[in-house]
Each structure stands twice: as structure tokens, then as C-alpha cells.
């Protein structure tokens, strides 16, 4: 193991971090809306919508992400109708193909997590929202969704980590994110161990920070679930600035 080369490799691969993070955050952002939409459709939609949602889930959970990326990137371009359509502006870019595949994929997995979160909100609290005159939409935004998010966050953190790692598949369709740069470097130097170890280390660092962020957010959002003594201690600190 050549440590000097290892250090240089980390610097070279670090250039791929922004693209990895952009891929991950964009697809999470789009994916979360897909997840909420699919989960809502399955829970409250008319029968035909539930069927579509279940089919979507079946397809995107049942096939490998790599295959999905290939189909979207190589497959869709074969249809003239798609090449002539406005969607081609997006679909001809490997970047957007990767984002699309990742978002559709995480949307499918995420919808099950979101569905569990939505179901966890007690029916009585939803009735209380109705009883004081909230529209279904307002009740969803103010009462159901905030509690569902708190409930779903730990499981969603898992999904974020999986997605972060899944961005490495984007290297297959020419994107030079961390893994893409690593593969390129190996083909130039033939030094597999150092390069992949460096790549692994970078992913490890990213996911370490990610898990910290998730658990911190989780902690901040769930004061109502902790024992009263802990929470009261916090309130005291806020008031006096001192730990009693």
C-alpha cells in the first residue's frame, strides 16, 4: 500500500464529491414527493389509483437499479417519439437519466416508509382535526404529515444512506462522480486497492456526516416522545442558559 499515492488519490476522487452529493440530494428531493404521492394514493386514493401505485412499487422494487438506469439511459433513446418530444432535452443527458432513475427508485422504497409513518398517526387525532373545522388538506399538512415525518425519519435515514451509495451506479453511464473517477484512475494506474480504498473512505465519511445529521434532526423533532424529565431539563437550559 503506497500511502503517498493513497493521499493523492483521495484528493483526486474528492473532485467527484460535489457530483455525488448533487445526484443524491436532487433524487432525494424529487423522490420524497413521489414517495408521499404514492403513499397517499395507496392509502386514500380511488381503487384505480391504488392499483397504479401498487404496480409502480412492484416494478421499481422488483428490478435492479442498474437495469432501471440502463433502460432509461440507453433504452428510451431508441424510440423516435421520445427523441422528438420535449422530454428528450432531459433524457439525453446522462445526469438527468441518473437522477430520474434514482428518484423513481427511492420514491418506491420511500413510499413504504412514508405509508408506515402516515398510518402511525392515531385516528383520534385526525378526528380531532376534523372536529375543529380543518379541511382534509389542512389536517394533512398540520397534523398528519408532521407526525408521519417524525415517525418515518429513522427508517428514511437508512434509505438516504442506501441512495447515497447507489449514486455510484451513475458511473456506468459516464458520470464522473466518486466511483466514476475511481474507475478512470484505476484504468490509468492499475492500482485497485489504493483507489477503491480511498473511494470507500470518502463514502464512509459522507455517510458518517449524513447519519449524524439524521439523528440530530430526529432528536430535535421528537421531544414529545422522550421522557418528561429530559425534556424539562432542556427547557430549563433554554431559559437560564445553565444546566441545573
Amino acid at each position: 500500500m503506497d500511502f503517498q499515492f493513497f493521499g493523492e488519490t483521495i484528493l483526486i476522487l474528492s473532485a467527484g464529491i460535489p457530483l455525488t452529493l448533487t445526484l443524491a440530494s436532487l433524487s432525494v428531493f424529487i423522490g420524497i414527493f413521489i414517495a408521499i404521492g404514492i403513499a397517499s394514493a395507496r392509502l386514500w386514493g380511488p381503487v384505480w389509483m391504488q392499483k397504479i401505485a401498487r404496480f409502480y412499487l412492484f416494478v421499481f422494487r422488483g428490478t435492479p437499479l442498474l437495469v432501471q438506469i440502463f433502460i432509461i439511459y440507453y433504452g428510451l433513446g431508441q424510440f423516435e417519439a421520445i427523441r422528438d418530444s420535449a422530454a428528450w432535452i432531459v433524457l439525453r443527458e446522462p445526469f438527468w437519466c441518473a437522477v430520474l432513475a434514482l428518484a423513481l427508485n427511492t420514491g418506491a422504497y420511500g413510499s413504504e416508509i412514508v405509508r408506515g409513518g402516515l398510518l402511525s398517526v392515531p385516528q383520534g387525532q385526525i378526528e380531532a382535526a376534523r372536529a375543529c373545522g380543518m379541511s382534509p388538506r389542512l389536517g394533512f399538512m398540520r397534523i398528519i404529515l408532521p407526525q408521519a415525518v417524525r415517525q418515518a425519519l429513522p427508517a428514511y435515514g437508512n434509505e438516504l444512506i442506501l441512495l447515497c451509495k447507489a449514486t455510484s451506479l451513475a458511473s456506468i453511464i459516464t458520470l464522473m462522480e466518486i466511483t466514476g473517477l475511481a474507475a478512470k484512475l484505476i484504468s490509468e494506474t492499475y492500482r485497485v486497492i489504493e483507489v477503491f480504498a480511498a473511494a470507500g473512505l470518502i463514502y464512509l465519511a459522507i455517510n458518517f456526516i449524513l447519519t449524524r445529521i439524521v439523528s440530530f434532526t430526529d432528536y430535535r423533532l421528537t421531544a414529545h416522545l422522550r421522557p418528561a424529565s429530559e425534556v424539562l431539563l432542556e427547557i430549563d437550559e433554554n431559559l437560564t442558559g445553565a444546566n441545573p
Binding site: A128, A129, A131, C132, M134, Q147, H224, A228, I235
Partner: protein, 254 residues
Amino acid sequence: MTKPAIRLRGLRKSFGLNEVLSGIDLDANEGEVVSILGSSGSGKSTMLRCINLLETPSAGEVWIGDEMIELTTDKAGRSKPTDAGKVQKIRERVGMVFQSFNLWSHKTVLENVMEAPIHVLGRPKAEVREEALALLDKVGIAAKRDAYPAHLSGGQQQRAAIARSLAMHPDVLLFDEPTSALDPELVGEVLRVMRSLADEGRTMLVVTHEMGFARDVSTRVVFLHQGQIDCQGAPDDLFTGGGSERFQRFAAPS
């Protein structure tokens, strides 16, 4: 001249083939405290839930003040309100207190009380906050305003829930077995709050098993049996041998 706050006419409700309410006529005037008694399964909670349309009546009329909730039938033959927006408007004027409190667990007590006035009525936050603090003071849990529901006793939660429904300035308050989920020693504190509301002249419909409350606080007692009103009248009459034989058996201390 007393004005009717709630009128039910021929109210029916079935769940599948099971008819729970079979034709209820009830009037509650402004300022009346009506206790609704009955053994379990007599339909008393369902009747209360029909008043603010948490259950949709299968047939009959529900009047809140001088507004009638119009019903129609959907394609599957189920009845539903013609105008969902109107139902929401009516619910703003009808407060409901539940057996299991149903406070929103992700919000503090104060936030629970402020939520609907701000987001449903669109009132200014500062004003609502001041009023909410006064209400919490009134039900005796001002010190708990920053606590979450899970950190309160049942009695405190129920008093917070009463404050939450008062914050909407309702014309009518509905209580659905407000003390049935409480430990015996916590029942008193909730009943005291309800008694003070009755003393203010609020219109209240109370489904309860508390005979003491029904006898001492309410202006009228309604006894349901198998989805129909078996007998009703002033508590003084009913509890001194008036009313049906069935009621006497029901009310007799066992």
C-alpha cells in the same frame, strides 16, 4: 325566548345492516346542559358524532342553530353531506371533547390550543396566544403550557382538550364520555371544569356515565335505549322516580 341550538329530526344511522340509531328527535336550546345516558351500545356516542358529522347520518335532519346540514346519496348508495365546506364551517361552531382526549401529540399544550384559531379561523397569533393562556389558566393547567400531551396525566390532558375546543368560541360543546378514560381520582378535576362551563350558561351535550353530573349539573337528561330515546326530562323528575322503568333500573345504584 329560548332558541334551539341543536335540533335532530328522525335521525337514523346504520353501520351495514346494524341500525344503531332508529329515529331520534332531540332539541337542545341555548344554555341547556343535556346529559345523554344509556347503556353501552345504545347509540349515544354515535348520536353525538352525527351532530358534527364525524359520522354521517343515514337519514334524518341535523340542525345547528338555524342551519340544516343537507345530505345526499353517493353512487354507492351511502349518504354524505352535500357541501363539505359547509360541514367544516359548522364544525368551527361545534366544539368536541373526546373520550381519549385526542390532543395532537407533536404539539405542546399551548400549541394545541392555538392551532385551530390560527389555522382554521385565521386569527392573529398574538391575540390567540393571549386568549389561549387565559383558557389554560381557567382550566387550571397554565403551568403545563409548554409540556407535551404525553407528559401530562389524563385529567390534565382532558382539561387541555377542553381548552382547545373553547378556543374556537363554539356555540355548542359536545362531550363524548369525557371522564370514561380517566383514573377515578382524576375524574373530579375534569367534572369541576365542566361544571364551571355549565355555570357560564354554555350549551353542552354530554354523553356520560357520571350519574352525579347528570343529576346535579344538567338541565335535562336524555336516556337512550337501542337507538331510540327511551325517556327524557329534568333530572329532578327522572332521578326521583319519574321516567321509564328501564331508566330506573339503569340509574339504580347497584
